[in-house]
Amino acid sequence: MSEVKNILLVGVGGQGTILASKILSEGLVEAGYDVKMSEIHGMSQRGGNVSTQIRYGKKVYSPIVGKGEADVIVAFEKMEALRWIEYLRKDGKMVINDFEIPSVPILMGQAEYPQGILEELSENVAVLVIKAAEIAENLGNSKAMNIVLLGALVKAMNVEGVDWKKAIQNNVKKGFEELNLKAFDTGYNL
């Protein structure tokens, strides 16, 4: 099954992971791949974590990825990178947004936000750290953070023959196409 590639997008509800996954999977479908995508959102709107798994290749069976099988993981939030690291292949790549969203136990002072995540993960795997919120804000809207990360993810995936511009234009809100295309390019060219 080695020709099937596995991508994980992980983050917190409200960060736009689902939209990014949608653009990613539509782009891959248009390029002729068999694609399966699985969403796991345990009440994500209420502060839970959210993840989508995308598998593409000639023929895909399982919609979900096993531990140690993801080729690329993009973490929209830093602690989520830590939560999902087990799913990465030993030679996989991780794109991490340097952005913290404390969970309820941390907000209540019952737990500490883990320290040194980027350092520890960098020691173990190939990590690209991005300050996507700042980049998106400089482009004009911090909400485009997800598309900056998508750009960086696509670069890391090293996949060819996909019309990403079209997939983005088809999926983002009207009037925001240009901003999002810029966000994608910026992420891609980091």
Binding site: K36, I64, G66, G68, L107, A111
Partner: protein
């Protein structure tokens, strides 16, 4: 044309292509999006949210009897509610094809249990189909409507979370327009009195034989022979996991129709392979059929009987090995779901959590999260609509046994109250109970993502309609007007006063908390009735003594670090925290 769809979108598409005319459902994860997608075909399909699953099933039955293709959709526990009409519908059979979609939730992503509803098909004796991906979700829905008419039976389309919520490629087709079957009065077929029912039961047994014969030759029960060493018998998404793990090296019998079970086909397959694995999620359903036929196999002794399956689990079960992921020294802190910033349930639960000597019976919905710390304001949760009736039982038992110190408060949401809570409240009033029933009216069905219900004033298809007046409804079933309290849940003094008065009475009382869910799209009426202008709260650090009482309201916008701060983005200005601060350090800005 191929497009990428979730299983739920594909079920809706299959219903459309299959000439469906009527659809009804009660929302519940993972089934909710089926009707939310059917509404896209509202020019051809009439669709509605029903107050509960039994009503949805009965309405679909009526539409079928009237001669059109129909469906009802629900989550697995919803089938428990709808089971009463289902079992008799299996006796009578259909006129227009009728499919019941059961969306099961192995792994309990958002459910109170993980029951395997394949058992319902066998118990009710209705034909069952189990799709394993989006393409099959569409195809099987369509096929289900056809088979329902061919075999004169309701069809159970059994989905699971992973099929409902995963996306895959789907080939779209055209809609077949089915002529309406002219209505004919047929008392012997549709009136299930004992005399008629005895005949129906005989017919049902005959029908089962015909269905089993079909199952043995049906294309969707598909053997794939790749050698005679290992054969795998599987159904639903488990097939995909098995394919992932075993590849093209072994033989498969993929069962798309699993009731009645194609026993001839299974025996044939079993005779051609040396070793059989049964790979199925949840209950030993296929396995038990094999046992009855005396076929040797390996199944639940290695494949778990609980939780969701995945390729890792299957691989480990069969080969005893597992892909090792990367290990690091730190662990991520859990991210439990919580009541949103600005949730109108928070103020109410905060006030309730401070009351002494109270047992709080809870229900199914967002407000079940009131059980989580720091509020910890729910003691029980069983099933949809059960809070008021279980509270009634508890209160009567306490009264009977002379414990007058412990009070019972039952909490339920608006949609859940209409679902089945109203029956429970009738029970309380008529039988002179004494629990305080709280209807948390946030003007929408919150948990499943904002579906209309009989209290919101809009239909699924977007039309304005008559909304149920909850206080008047309570009066109509005998609740005294002076025992009905209507409060703004964000105002702690109002909530406290109502709770104290209501709990002090030895007769049925109702508190209705009324404030819209902060995430919903506000209707013109909402904007007129409630002050929803944007507001924020902020902590004056000079006045803050870091007593952390505000942290105790459990609001995700309040951050407790070196300083206690309120996040400007997520705060909605509900000001519940402001009311608990003894130093007036929280200000509305």
């Amino acid at each position: 044309m191929k497009t990428i769809m979730t299983g739920n979108e594909a079920v809706a598409r299959g219903a459309y292509e299959g000439g469906l005319v009527f659809a009804s459902a009660y929302p519940g994860t993972p089934s909710t999006e089926i009707l939310e997608n059917i509404v896209n075909y509202k020019d051809d399909i009439y669709c509605e949210w029903a107050p509960n699953e039994k009503v949805a099933m009965e309405a679909a039955i009526g539409a079928s009897v009237a001669g059109v293709r129909s469906m009802a959709a629900m989550k697995h526990v919803g089938v428990n509610v709808a089971a009463d009409p289902l079992f008799t519908f299996a006796y009578t059979g259909v006129t227009g094809g009728c499919v019941l979609v059961s969306a099961d939730d192995p792994g309990m992503h958002s459910s109170q249990n993980e029951q395997d509803n394949r058992n319902y098909a066998a118990a009710a004796r209705v034909l069952m189909l189990e799709p394993s991906d989006s393409q099959e979700s569409k195809d099987f829905m369509r096929l289900g409507l056809e088979l329902s008419e061919i075999f004169d039976t309701p069809v159970l389309l059994r989905m699971t979370t992973r099929v409902c919520h995963s996306k895959g490629l789907v080939e779209l087709g055209d809609r077949v327009e089915m002529p309406v079957i002219p209505y004919e009065k047929n008392i012997k077929k549709f009136v299930a009195t004992p005399a008629n029912g005895k005949v129906m039961r005989k017919n049902l047994v005959q029908r089962l034989k015909a269905m089993e014969a079909y199952a043995n030759t049906a294309e969707i029960n598909k053997p794939e022979y790749n050698g005679d060493e290992i054969g795998i018998i599987t159904s639903g998404v488990s097939y995909q996991y098995a394919r992932e793990v075993f590849g093209d090296e072994v033989s498969y019998l993929k069962l798309g129709m699993t009731f009645p079970m194609p026993m001839d086909l299974i025996k044939q397959f079993a005779g051609k392979v040396k070793k059989i694995y049964v790979i199925e999620e949840m209950d030993p359903y296929i396995e038990n059929h094999l046992k009855m036929a005396g076929i040797q196999f390996i199944g639940k002794e290695v494949i778990p009987e609980y939780d969701e399956l995945n390729p890792d689990i299957v691989r480990k079960a069969v080969f005893g090995e597992r892909e090792e992921g990367i290990k690091v020294s730190q662990e991520a802190v859990v991210r439990p779901p919580t009541l949103c910033a600005g949730c109108p349930h928070r103020g109410f639960f905060y006030a309730l959590s401070k009351k002494k000597n109270v047992m709080i019976t809870g229900d199914i919905g967002c407000y079940t999260l009131g059980s989580a710390p720091p509020l910890s304001a729910i003691d029980t949760c069983f099933c949809m609509g059960g809070s008021i009736s279980s509270g009634h039982g508890a209160a009567q038992a306490l009264r009977k046994t002379g414990n007058h110190d412990l009070k019972v408060v039952s909490v339920i949401g608006d949609s859940t109250f209409f679902h089945s809570g109203i029956n429970s409240l009738m029970d309380v009033v008529y039988n002179k109970g004494c629990n305080t029933s709280v209807i948390l009216d946030n003007r929408i069905t919150g948990m499943t993502g904002h579906q209309q219900n009989p209290g919101t004033g809009y239909t699924l298809m977007g039309e304005g309609t008559e909304e149920v007046d909850i206080p008047k409804l309570c009066q109509a079933i005998g609740m005294k007007e002076e025992n009905i309290y209507i409060v703004n849940p964000n105002k702690l003094d109002e909530v406290n006063k109502a709770l104290d008065e209501a709990m002090a009475k030895d007769e049925p009382t109702v508190i209705i908390t009324k404030w819209p869910c902060i995430l919903k799209k506000f209707s013109p009426q909402d904007k007129k009735e409630f002050d929803l202008s944007p507001k924020k709260c902020s902590i004056n650090q000079d006045k803050c003594k870091k007593c952390k009482l505000c942290v105790g309201v459990g609001c995700p916008a309040i951050h407790s670090g070196d300083n206690i701060e309120i996040d400007k983005v997520s705060c909605t200005g509900c000001a519940v925290c402001k009311q608990v601060c003894p130093f007036n350090a929280i200000e509305e800005v």
